[in-house]
């Protein structure tokens, strides 16, 4: 019998537990010729803030061993531009749309969240408090527990949509952030964002990226992400969405085993655009072969 892969992430009902990771799947149309968006568990779009933004200068990315270092700097069309240009397209699919939001101030975060509250077709908000590439300190919200608490509280009171704070990996006690999010009324948490990193050029003696530092993603960060997801999942009752280096079903099954209720595919989509669909199918095949009737029987079943 085909196992039941459906899952509910803080009110977002998904047909399977695999979503796209913000910033790695554009706003949808970029991959629509290659991937059947209807088969995704959810689509998470590139980070959106209040006004249009241009992002960083070049180079914005560089490849490193088994990974990618990026400092794109969150260019985007802003709330209005996004709703006008992309929501009509996204509404044609039977797949939950999760909007990833960010801001430069607490007020901005809250205002972006409030604006999306009245937009039809949005299933939830993922809050990027942890972008390593924004000068004005988005990362500070993700690595200072007091700031984190203030921003999550402010957004919570600004929206009725399912709220998913996205945690930074570079904190000393991830459980503290997970618990704080839960206490502030988050419906789920997601982790990890890319890991702050550096690449330099020996010939020029300069950092390779225009932004100097960037965020590391891809297979290189998977073991780091797995530990953090494992710790966070033990700390809270709300569902955990896991990402960080997932490129096949077995990677995803590991995150689900340690307690994640859903996963997101990021950098791997750049290489094989259909990765998220293959991950979802592969999870189904694995559970069927193991005789496990439902995804929920696998989630968190790690033996201590």
């Amino acid at each position: 019998m085909k196992p039941d892969l459906s899952t509910n992430i803080g009110g977002i009902r998904m047909k399977n537990p695999v979503m796209t990771a913000s910033g790695t799947f554009g706003y949808g149309p970029e991959y629509a010729d290659l991937v059947d968006i209807n088969q995704l568990g959810a689509i998470v779009v590139k980070g959106i803030c209040l006004h249009p933004t241009k992002g960083n200068e070049l180079p914005r990315t560089t490849e490193v061993a088994s990974g990618l270092l990026n400092a794109i700097g969150l260019p985007g069309p802003g709330v209005d531009g996004f709703v006008r240009e992309y929501m009509p397209f996204l509404r044609t699919y039977d797949t939950p749309v999760v909007v990833n939001i960010w801001g430069k101030t607490i007020e901005e975060y809250a205002e972006v969240a409030a604006r999306f509250d009245s937009v039809p077709g949005i299933a939830g908000l993922e809050v990027n408090v942890s972008c390593p590439n924004i000068k004005e300190g988005s990362a500070v919200f993700g690595t200072d527990i007091k700031m984190f608490e203030r921003v999550v509280k402010a957004i919570r009171s600004a929206t009725r949509l399912p709220l998913i704070p996205k945690l930074a990996p570079n904190v000393s006690d991830i459980a503290e952030y997970a618990r704080c999010a839960e206490a502030c009324g988050a419906d789920a948490i997601s982790l990890i964002n890319s890991f702050p990193s550096l690449a330099v050029n020996l010939d020029t003696r300069r950092p390779i990226l225009a932004n100097k530092t960037g965020g590391l993603s891809g297979p290189a960060i998977k073991p780091i992400a797995l530990r953090l997801v494992w710790l966070a999942a033990q700390a809270v009752e709300i569902p955990v969405v896991a990402m960080g280096g997932i490129s096949c079903a077995r990677d995803a099954l590991e995150f689900l085993l340690v307690g994640a209720s859903a996963v997101a595919v990021g950098t791997a989509s750049f290489v094989y655009p259909d990765t998220a669909l293959r991950v979802a199918a592969g999870i189904g095949d694995f559970l069927e072969k193991e005789g496990i009737a439902s995804l929920s029987d696998w989630v968190g079943s790690i033996k201590a």
């Binding site: 991959y31 010729d33 990315t61 490849e63 990618l68 950098t267 989509s269 094989y272 655009p273 259909d274």
Partner: protein
């Protein structure tokens, strides 16, 4: 665009550090427009996670080929691929060259792999024009017989004088323009290193002639999602980013902010 598992038909060094890789890829080959590219996952190179972009050199029926230079890990490892082996390609990608405008005379300007990237322009153009190929030495000049076989006149320049005229491609272009340019209405199709693109764009602007330039910004996804490959293009009085992989790699040279191009 599609994701396709291609099979190597033939693969061999051609000259210098250039290699010709021909593959069977019926899905992608059928839809190729001149100036488009494929994004290749290099087999046996697991620690390099990104694909590598290569212009489509030829596309005939069910097969297509690329002409690539060994410049790093990916292009070095690619050379191990043997006939019969398969590789994952994504394509055809990007926005290629338009057909020459009515009443215009096509002028191709190429350096490096640009000679391969312009082959389909030459092959499919209803009007045969003139092609200027430039490089450091004879080893860097590719495909001259192929272009001549299509009925194009090819003018070669090398910096060391080992083939054709000594000098830069733009020296030959300027001389031709002074001699014959006024008899035609030239339209430029350019693919080569940044300096060559800029020099050609400057001439097009001075002479108010249309020019299409193919840029080779570093790429990530190749489909418009990651925003790695962007360049600054004019937007009224201001500028905006355009994606080389999606809106490009071929741009109307008038639109590019050349002084900002890396």
């Amino acid at each position: 665009m599609q994701l396709e598992q291609a099979t190597v038909i033939a693969h061999a060094p051609i000259q210098g550090s250039y290699n010709l890789l021909q593959m069977r890829a019926p899905g992608v080959a059928a839809r190729v427009q001149p100036g488009q590219f494929i994004h290749v996952k290099v087999p046996y190179l697991e620690e390099c996670i990104l694909r590598r972009p290569f212009s489509i050199f030829r596309a005939d029926g069910e097969s297509l080929s690329i002409l690539y230079k060994d410049v790093g890990k990916g292009t070095r490892t690619l050379q191990y691929l043997e006939p019969g082996e398969s590789l994952s390609i994504l394509g055809p990608l990007g926005h290629g060259f338009p057909e020459v405008s009515a009443g215009h005379f096509p002028v191709l300007i190429a350096g490096g792999y640009g000679m391969a990237a312009l082959y389909l322009v030459a092959q499919r153009s209803p009007v045969k024009g003139v092609a200027f190929f430039g490089g450091r030495s004879a080893q860097d000049i590719l495909c001259v017989p192929e272009f001549e076989a299509l009925g194009w006149k090819v003018l070669v320049t090398t910096e060391d004088g080992s083939l054709g005229q000594r000098g830069l491609v733009t020296d030959a272009l300027d001389a031709w323009w002074a001699r014959e340019g006024s008899a035609h209405s030239p339209e430029l199709f350019v693919c080569g290193p940044g300096g060559m693109l800029k020099a050609a764009a400057r001439r097009a602007e001075e002479r108010n002639c249309p020019a299409w330039t193919s840029v080779d910004n570093n790429m990530g996804c190749g489909v418009g999602a990651c925003l790695t490959c962007v360049l600054k293009v004019k937007d009224g009085e201001s500028w905006t980013w355009a994606r080389a992989c999606r809106e490009g790699p071929v741009f109307n040279s008038r639109d590019i902010l050349w002084e900002e191009l890396a």
